[in-house]
């Protein structure tokens, strides 16, 4: 073909493309990732899982033909950088409808900004537990259990081990936590349990990033508590387990939570962490679920996976990333069903979808998440769709689920959510919405 013909042909194709109705539209999906910095070992698998899930959706043709335009913004778990990411990404590529910051600090900063920009925040499993109250936090959605539920399940599990929560009377429990917002967010629930069941709760703060915990664990050795509740993040976790070993505190009496219950949290202390318990947000390290196989076949078999090491697919935090991606994708789907299929959704439509979000067991099965998450349903007032979580235990090689589903105790959790949400509303002069139900 002569050059001129090529040119003409190209022009013709281009003209045809512009003329064709409904060029495949894209839904912008920003991903906040921290692959560098102090929390990189935790941030990498989460970001990989999130990106992989969205890629999987794209590989299967998108949502009613709408594919995700995936973009990562690296913020190194630094709040100021996270805000810059948010400001940069919110208006790009047709605008972000849903933001998941995966950081309690960035979430705190966005609590006010996002509603102004009409962007929905999903905060699945971190940050601001009070946001479960939809009357105050119209634009914020914990969806799956928050830290209050984590604390509650930790207590229930401790109670079970003690042979009933009332057996805790007079017992000594230590709470070792990172001196950061999330460490403090667990306290109201523990305090409530301590008051109700009459055990002494001794709180030991560890300064971030938590590499030096010598004095904390010396105190643990002195107190010899009956149980130890543990809330840390990043490098603090393996360090705590090493220190526990060094002072000879039995690991099977340690109860952690989901950000302290992944493979990287026991790295280097695999042997010594045997018996350590952690609340799992989902089936940890699930390699048999359908969605994992899907990811392996669709992406990794073709070399399109995000993770450098395909072996990490199915790790605790990777699965956690899949859930993050799934929540975004499902929100888009639900919103499209209401507002028109085959079109990218806006932040307001996402808000509606998240408030009318329902995952039935059948839908979970379809998505391939059976055994990973529980059914959930949100309403206008109730932004936390599920109160269920399980306990997992480290057996020296991998994380094993060793309990049935616990249901967070609403008698303890709901009043706290209400109390803190109302305080937030009063402090910030937010008018509470009236919800029909």
């Amino acid at each position: 073909m002569k050059p001129i013909h090529t040119l003409l042909a190209t022009l013709a194709v281009a003209a045809g493309m512009t003329a064709a109705p409904a060029v495949a539209q894209e839904q912008y999906a920003p991903i906040f990732s921290y692959r560098t910095g102090p929390y990189a070992p935790n941030g990498i698998p989460v970001a990989n899982g999130t990106a992989d899930y969205l890629k999987l959706v794209n590989a299967k043709g998108g949502i009613n033909g709408v594919k995700f335009k995936i973009e990562e913004c690296e913020f190194a778990f630094d709040t100021a950088k996270g805000i810059e990411c948010y400001e940069r990404m919110k208006g790009q590529n047709g605008g972000a409808a849903i933001v998941q910051s995966i950081s309690t600090g960035v979430t705190a900063a966005l609590l006010k900004k996002a509603p102004e920009d009409k962007i929905s925040l999903i905060i699945a499993g971190y940050g601001t537990p009070a946001a479960a109250d939809g009357r105050v936090f119209k634009w914020v959605f914990p969806m799956i259990p928050n830290y209050f539920v984590a604390a509650d399940v930790m207590m229930q599990s401790v109670g079970e081990k003690a042979g009933g929560l009332d057996k805790l009377k007079g017992k000594k429990i230590n709470y070792v936590y990172m001196d950061a917002p999330f460490g403090h967010e667990f306290m109201p629930v523990f305090d409530a349990y301590a008051a109700k069941y009459g055990f002494t709760l001794n709180k030991l703060a560890v300064t971030a990033p938590g590499l030096d915990q010598k004095s904390t664990w010396l105190q643990v050795r002195r107190d010899q508590p009956d149980y130890l509740l543990y809330v840390g993040y990043g490098v603090m976790n393996p360090t705590a387990l090493k220190e526990a070993q060094a002072v000879g505190y039995p690991r099977d009496k340690m109860y952690g939570f989901w950000w302290a219950g992944s493979e990287s949290d026991v790295k280097g202390v695999e042997e010594a962490s045997k018996g350590y318990n952690a609340v799992a947000l989902q089936a940890s390290a699930n390699r048999d679920a359908k969605v994992i196989k899907d990811v392996q076949e669709t992406l990794y078999a073709k070399g399109q996976g995000t993770a450098q090491d395909a072996k990490t697919v199915g790790d605790v935090l990777y699965v956690r990333g899949l859930i993050t991606g799934m929540l975004t994708a499902e929100t888009v789907r639900i919103a499209q069903e209401k507002f028109g299929k085959g079109k990218p959704i806006t932040g307001e439509q996402a808000q509606w979808a998240l408030e009318n979000f329902e995952l039935t067991p059948e839908r979970i099965e379809e998505l391939g998440f059976t055994g990973i998450i529980q059914p959930m349903k949100t309403t206008c007032a109730q932004h936390m769709g599920s109160y269920a979580a399980r306990m997992s235990v480290w057996d020296g090689k991998e994380w094993k689920i060793n309990s049935d589903w616990y249901e967070g105790n609403r008698e303890i959790i709901d009043p706290l959510i209400k109390q803190f949400a109302e305080k937030y509303a009063a402090d910030n002069k937010i008018e509470q919405r009236q919800c029909a139900n």
Binding site: P209, K214, L218, G234, V235
Partner: protein, 309 residues
Amino acid sequence: MGFFLETLIGGLMTGVLYSLVALGFVLIYKASSVFNFAQGVMVLFAALAMARFSEWIPQWTGIESKVLANVLAFMVAAVLMLILAWLVERLALRHLVSQPEATLLMATIGIGFFLEGFGQSVFGSNVYNIDIGMPKDPLFVAQGLFEGGILIDSQELVAALIATLLVAALVLFFQKTSTGRALRAVADDHQAAQSVGIPLARMWVIVWFVAGLSALVAGMVWGSKLGVQFSISTLALRALPVVILGGLTSVPGAIVAGLIVGAGEKLSEIYLGPFVGGGIEVWFAYVLALLVLLVRPQGLFGEKIIDRV
């Protein structure tokens, strides 16, 4: 009483490691008046290099002996620190002679940024392990004297021993070798040293290398205890009160102050902490140093500051 001793011993052993990092600061400051804020990142970089090479060398060469792999990795890391020292002198320090202290401080922070990025992009930003076979289970001594005995963290005990050995070696190096003597001369007076024919540039390379070695040992010891990861660089901040408490220019000062700060912060956290909610040890170490400075502004062992007008 048993618990008090336990805390004290634990604190002293942590203190030895602080001394090790503090030494890096002091050596460089003595020789070149540079307050090396990048010391913490050097610890990270050295530890990363050692961790990754001890993993890679068996893969590349098929060496099976763990000890040999570790020794080789240590040597490779040491060579890297030497190259780093040379580059720092060649590319940065040489051009910054006689700048104010704040500018030099800033330059080392810049070097720190570079190393942080470089180290992580070459070696990765995950958690890596250094396994030099340190014992991990606790040791109980004096069980006859106190109920339950006194717990000693065996890992820290080994770490403290390694650190002590290195410190002793450094002291010997400074007192007994001609290079050591030359370094002390440079520390005393740059111009005088230069005028008797001591090559200043080479001395700087040597001193940065020695500081790099102490960073490597600190990184190895800490890394085998905590795992090697980004955050390890922040441990150096814990050594800063040690440096000023002992005096910026004093090697014995760094050692003694390390022990004081190590023991002081643990004791304060455990005995004072509960009254104010805990978590005080980080700033308490600084306050401790500050109190001493109010009496002796040059630190415990620093050279007396004489102002001439």
